[in-house]
């Protein structure tokens, strides 16, 4: 049994307007050793946060309370921040047209996979930090 970890204090931005999911995502990231920026419920809030907090990666809900995520995604991608789109239905045409190689994770999220994806994005050579106690269990059957 091994646990998955993100690089130490990797800052992950979360944009999600649904409180339960937002909290769940945040706690999952924190459990994996990451630092959560957000969760932001609106685009406005997200852009405000990102302006003052550099991040290593981002998990973005496609539709936020005020509008679609496009401005946020463009902001992040422009800065080379890896992004995972967390969506129930799919990615808006506008985005998939702009960014053909999007990383998508369908709702509801599976924590291990999400962390693995995040980690792969943050550390492209794929060296995952495995083993420290208190990390995210790769297999939930404890």
């Amino acid at each position: 049994m091994e646990a998955l970890f993100l690089p130490d204090h990797a800052a992950v931005f979360v944009a999600e307007d649904e409180p339960f999911i937002a909290l769940d995502l945040a706690m999952t990231i924190e459990d994996a050793g990451g630092v959560v920026v957000g969760p932001a419920a609106t685009v406005k809030e997200a852009l405000a946060l990102l302006a003052s907090h550099p991040v290593d990666a981002a998990i973005l809900d496609v539709n936020l309370a005020d509008r679609d995520i496009c401005p946020v995604a463009e902001f992040l991608m422009a800065r080379g921040v890896p992004v995972i789109f967390h969506t129930g239905l799919g990615v808006p045409d506008e985005l998939s047209a702009k960014f053909p190689n999007l990383v998508v994770h369908l709702k509801p999220f599976v924590p291990e996979q999400l962390i693995r994806q995040l980690a792969a994005l943050i550390v492209p050579d794929g060296a995952l930090i495995v083993g420290r106690g208190g990390g995210l269990a790769a297999n939930s059957a404890e």
Partner: protein, 1053 residues
């Protein structure tokens, strides 16, 4: 000897010519396949073919015929006429008369023998004797001989120069001399098949061309051959039309099959009848007789008779037209020459009758003298005076220019006459004493030459054995008949006796006797002489009386005779008229037959049509009717002549009288539908004027056509049509029909409604495609020829089309789905029927459904994501599995309640009344802990605030926040005790909802919790997150006070 061979399709004319010259004619038999089809039938039907044989048999026949000709050659004279036949003619003639009723005794012997001889040649009989016995044994040979004798050649304008001369001189003058009311009468005896008659008719009609009003013309064509008359009456002649110029052919004939028919204008001028010139009484008062080549067949005696007949029949000065080899020299007394070359002669006026069958001794009626108005006394005085004067005037004779005696005087004229032997004659020089003849001839010649009276005195003549001296007086008399003649025509020849020629040589004997005796004797003699004288005187008186009474008798006799003459004349006239009547009667008879046929055709036609017809005159009297009329008017035959208005009828028509009058007055046709009351029958009644053939209006014809069945069928049809119309108008689908050109012929109410038309006229026959179907659904132009509707109308293929757009009249479009079916009538394509529906709403519903599905999918996914979050988060704070289960259930329950209340709001779907309000949501969420509607719980929880509709995703967040607050209250706060109270109130200010959660009366709160609980954290996150507001917790000792704000837009969206 001539031998002719006939070729060609119709040898009829040639056959006639051959026969005319005594030749033999053979015809191919019909069973010979090489036969010319027209020939035998045509030629044999005219009786001109002697034998019909197959071609193979012809040579044998010809050889036998020749042999026979040579055999009898020596019995013929140089002209080829047999000399041994004459003795048998009488026998043959009487046989013929017995069989055929015609007397050929007056036929010219040579002609007769030649014709007979020809028959003998055909039959190969060598002696006349044998032929007579053949005739006795085979009576039908008599018929053949009869026809043989009648064969004549005739054609139009035969001898054209003569007809031309007749036309220019005679006919033109004849026409000029007549006015419109006059009648021109022409007789053509021996007309055969009528060509000569029609020729004259054409010439007359042409002569009348130059005139305005034309006189009426009657041309009598007569012949004794009934078959010829039948042909003539038909007036139809086979080609070629020899002798007729193309202009005349064009003008006077109409082409009729392979022949020509005389036009009616000419035909109507001519009357044909069976008539024998020799046997029957003639026509009279004629202007022209054309008798060509008939006299040549008659012997001289018959010719004379015929000439006299013609003389009688013609008007004075009228014209006789003979054939080229005929002349009137023998009858110079009757006819004068007008044109010798062309044989045109003029009738002379002669004294005395000319009709041959009547007594030659008759005299013309005495011409009444001037002032001799009455007969009786004055005439008697005249005759008495004449008688008395005769004693003192010389006996005399009146002769005409031809020296024929026309009058004898009374008295001693007989003394100068001496009848000669032989036939009685009226020629002066035949009956005058021979010794007088030279003197009289000389005197007459003198008088003729000088035109003055001639007196030859003291001519010594021996009369009754005594020599007498005679003075011869010749006095020309005024001749009333011979007008314009230089010569006087009549001469009075008187003989005055001047006593004996000489008194010499008279001897006297003297005898002496005694004186006394002598004296006594002389006395006695004197007495006796005296007595004798008185006796003589008495005798003379008696004689004179006798003579006078004799003369009276004579004069009475004369009168009787003249009366007789008048009667004879009248009889002749009657005979002529009778003959004419016969002719007309024959024509009438044939016309009558035609009329009878036509009439029976008409009767059958009227009976067979079921059209009830009634004929009324202008007084509305019934003239006739058809049997069908009895359905309408109960008429019987006896009702003819009754006024129609008296007939009781069930006809619902009161204006019959008025309408009939209107039809007669305006000559229009009235057509009207009428019905029989009670009988349920309907008729179309037509009143038309009855127009006679001569264009006179004589009443009306009313016809009734039974249309009951038709009416019934039409009513049913109308009903069916109405039903059908109702049906198509009541359906919600739009229906229209187009013809093969794609032009609309019908449209229903749904069509009009959907497309915004008001009247059918805006649609029917218009270019519908341009109006409703100008573009495709994507807005591109839709060419007419590509339209499925037009194509289906032209091809007859059914079609189903979706996804197209129709255009309303106002230009707006709507999506349609339509079906096309071909319209066939009797298997022939008429166009197409198009049914279409407006699919706007269906489209909308489909779109909504898709939207709904996507929304549902989205929400489901969201819900699962939320649920996953709920489970994961609950697990973090749960102490035991039971605790976790309870928490999770509570939260899921809240979510479920929120979902129940908050359905997706779709465009145009729901009404405001069904919307969930904030109050509903709150009540639902807190009801597991404190149901405001339940008795007892109402006072624990107070919910107040304005109506705020709530929907959308944010509502679930709101519900969860409330749930967290409610579970917290139920665990630790106001709802955990019976005394605790909860108040939820809110206000709306512009876009912001401000809600206050106020607890009190629960367990007192000692302090603000050190660690923010999960519920609080969640609530805060929600409020700041998708509720777009804020939340603030005040942990007051009396109870929790929460201020929650949210964007109202989020709650509604």
């Amino acid at each position: 000897m001539r031998h002719s061979v006939g070729l060609g399709s119709d040898g009829t004319l040639g056959a006639a010519a051959i026969k005319e010259h005594g030749g033999l004619t053979l015809a191919q038999a019909e069973f010979d396949h090489q036969a010319k089809p027209g020939m035998p039938l045509s030629a044999t039907s005219t009786g001109q073919v002697d034998e019909i044989l197959p071609v193979e048999a012809m040579p044998a026949k010809l050889v036998a015929y020749l042999k026979h000709l040579r055999g009898v050659a020596e019995t013929k004279d140089p002209e080829g006429t047999r000399q041994d036949a004459g003795g048998y003619l009488a026998a043959i003639c009487s046989l013929l008369q017995a069989r055929c009723g015609h007397d050929f005794r007056s036929y010219k012997e040579k002609t007769f023998v030649r014709r007979m001889q020809r028959r003998m040649q055909v039959l190969q009989i060598s002696t006349p004797e044998a032929y007579v016995s053949h005739l006795r044994e085979q009576p039908q040979e008599l018929d053949v001989l009869f026809l043989e004798l009648l064969i004549g050649v005739t054609q139009f304008f035969r001898d054209p120069a003569a007809f031309e001369a007749l036309g220019t001189s005679v006919l033109t003058n004849l026409v000029q001399g007549k006015c419109a009311d006059d009648l021109i009468r022409v007789w053509v005896p021996g007309c055969a098949t009528g060509q000569e008659v029609f020729t004259l008719a054409m010439l007359l009609r042409e002569a009348m061309d130059t005139r305005g009003p034309t006189p009426k013309v009657q041309i009598f064509g007569t012949d004794i051959d009934e078959r010829s008359i039948v042909v003539a009456r038909l007036g139809r002649y086979a080609k070629p039309m020899v002798g007729v110029s193309p202009e005349r052919l064009e003008r006077w004939f109409v082409q009729d099959g392979d022949g020509y028919s005389i036009v009616a204008e000419i035909r109507e001028m001519c009357l044909f009848s069976l008539h024998s010139l020799i046997k029957d009484p003639p026509f009279s008062k004629l202007d022209l007789i054309s008798c060509r080549n008939l006299l040549i067949y008659l012997d001289p005696e018959a010719q004379d008779r015929v000439m006299r007949t013609f003389h009688y029949a013609l008007n004075p000065g009228a014209t006789l037209f003979l054939g080229s080899s005929e002349t009137v020299t023998r009858s110079a007394k009757l006819f004068g020459v007008a044109d010798k070359k062309h044989r045109i002669f003029t009738r002379k006026v002669i004294d005395g009758p000319s009709l041959p069958d009547l007594s030659p001794t008759r005299r013309i009626k005495p011409v009444p003298g001037p002032g001799g108005i009455g007969s009786g006394p004055s005439e008697r005085i005249d005759s008495d005076a004449r008688r008395l004067m005769e004693k003192y005037s010389p006996p005399h004779i009146v002769v005409d220019r031809d020296h024929l005696i026309v009058r004898f005087s009374g008295g001693d004229v007989g003394a100068y006459l001496e009848p000669s032997a032989g036939a009685p004659s009226f020629n002066l020089f035949n009956i005058l004493r021979k010794n007088l003849r030279p003197a009289v001839r000389a005197a007459l010649q003198d008088a003729e030459l000088s035109g003055r009276p001639v007196l030859h005195e003291n001519i010594a003549v021996r009369v009754e054995g005594k020599a007498r001296l005679i003075t011869l007086i010749v006095e020309p008399m005024p001749d009333h008949g011979a007008k314009a003649s230089r010569k006087t025509g009549v001469f009075a020849l008187g003989f005055q006796d001047n006593g004996p020629a000489s008194i010499s040589g008279r001897g006297r004997k003297s005898n002496e006797a005694p004186a006394d005796a002598m004296q006594a004797l002389e006395q006695e003699l004197r007495t006796t002489r005296f007595q004798l004288q008185s006796s003589i005187d008495e005798a003379e008186v008696v004689n004179e009386e006798m003579r006078s009474s004799n003369e009276e008798y004579q004069s009475v006799n004369e009168e009787l005779q003249s009366a007789n003459e008048e009667l004879e004349t009248a009889k002749e006239e009657i005979q002529s008229v009778n003959e004419e009547l016969h002719t007309i009667n024959a024509e009438m008879g044939s016309k009558n037959e035609l009329l009878t046929t036509l009439n029976s055709d008409l009767v059958n036609l009227l009976d067979s049509t079921e059209i009830a017809t009634i004929f009324l005159d202008d007084q509305l009297l019934i003239k006739s009717f058809t049997p069908g009329i009895t359905d309408i008017f109960p008429l019987r035959e006896s009702d003819v002549g009754r006024p129609i208005t008296e007939i009781v009828t069930l006809l619902s028509y009161a204006d019959l009288k008025r309408d009939v009058r209107a039809v007669i007055r305006k000559l229009t046709v009235i057509e009207q539908q009428v019905s029989l009351v009670g009988a349920g029958m309907t008729f179309i009644m037509r009143i038309r004027p009855y127009r006679r053939v001569d264009n006179v209006i004589d009443g009306v014809v009313i016809t009734f056509i039974d249309i009951t069945e038709r009416e019934g069928a039409q009513a049913a049809l109308r009903g069916a049509q109405d039903d059908l119309r109702l049906l198509i108008d009541s359906t919600a689908d739009a229906i229209f029909c187009v013809d093969r050109q794609g032009l609309p012929t019908l449209c229903n109410a749904a069509f009009m409604r959907m497309l915004g038309f008001e009247r059918e006229e805006e649609v029917i026959g218009k270019d519908l495609h341009a109006m409703i179907h100008p573009s495709r659904h994507d807005g591109s132009p839709y060419p007419r020829d590509e339209s499925a509707i037009i194509r289906a109308a032209k091809s007859g293929q059914p079609a189903h089309v979706e996804g197209e757009v129709f255009c309303r009249r106002d230009g707006t479009g709507f999506p349609v789905e339509y079906w096309l079916r071909p319209m066939l009538r009797n298997g022939e394509l008429q166009g197409a029927v198009c049914t279409f529906v407006d699919v706007t709403e269906r489209r909308l519903a489909e779109e909504q459904q898709a939207l709904l599905l996507r929304e549902l999918d989205h929400r489901m996914k969201n819900l699962f994501a939320v649920t996953a979050g709920v489970v994961a988060l609950s697990a973090r704070s749960a102490l035991t599995p039971q605790d976790m289960a309870k928490t999770v259930r509570g939260r899921l329950d809240a979510l479920a309640r929120a979902h129940l209340l908050i359905r997706p709001v779709l465009p145009g779907a729901s009404s405001v009344a069904q919307r969930t309000t904030l109050a509903d949501l709150i009540r639902e969420i807190i009801s597991p802990y404190a149901d405001p509607d339940r008795a007892g719980d109402g006072r624990r929880a107070l919910i107040e605030g304005p109506d705020v509709p709530i929907s959308g995703e944010a509502a679930t967040s709101f519900a969860l926040v409330l749930h967290e607050l409610a579970t917290n209250a139920a665990k630790y706060g106001a709802l955990s005790t019976d005394e605790g109270r909860l108040r939820i109130s809110w206000t709306v200010n512009q876009d912001t909802l401000a809600l206050i959660w106020e607890e009190h009366g629960g367990p007192p709160i000692e302090s603000t919790p050190e660690r923010e609980g999960f519920g609080t954290q969640l609530a805060r996150r929600s409020a700041g997150g998708n509720l777009g507001g804020t939340i603030a917790f005040n942990w007051n000792r009396a109870g929790l006070l929460v201020h929650l704000s949210a964007s109202q837009a989020r709650l509604i969206a």
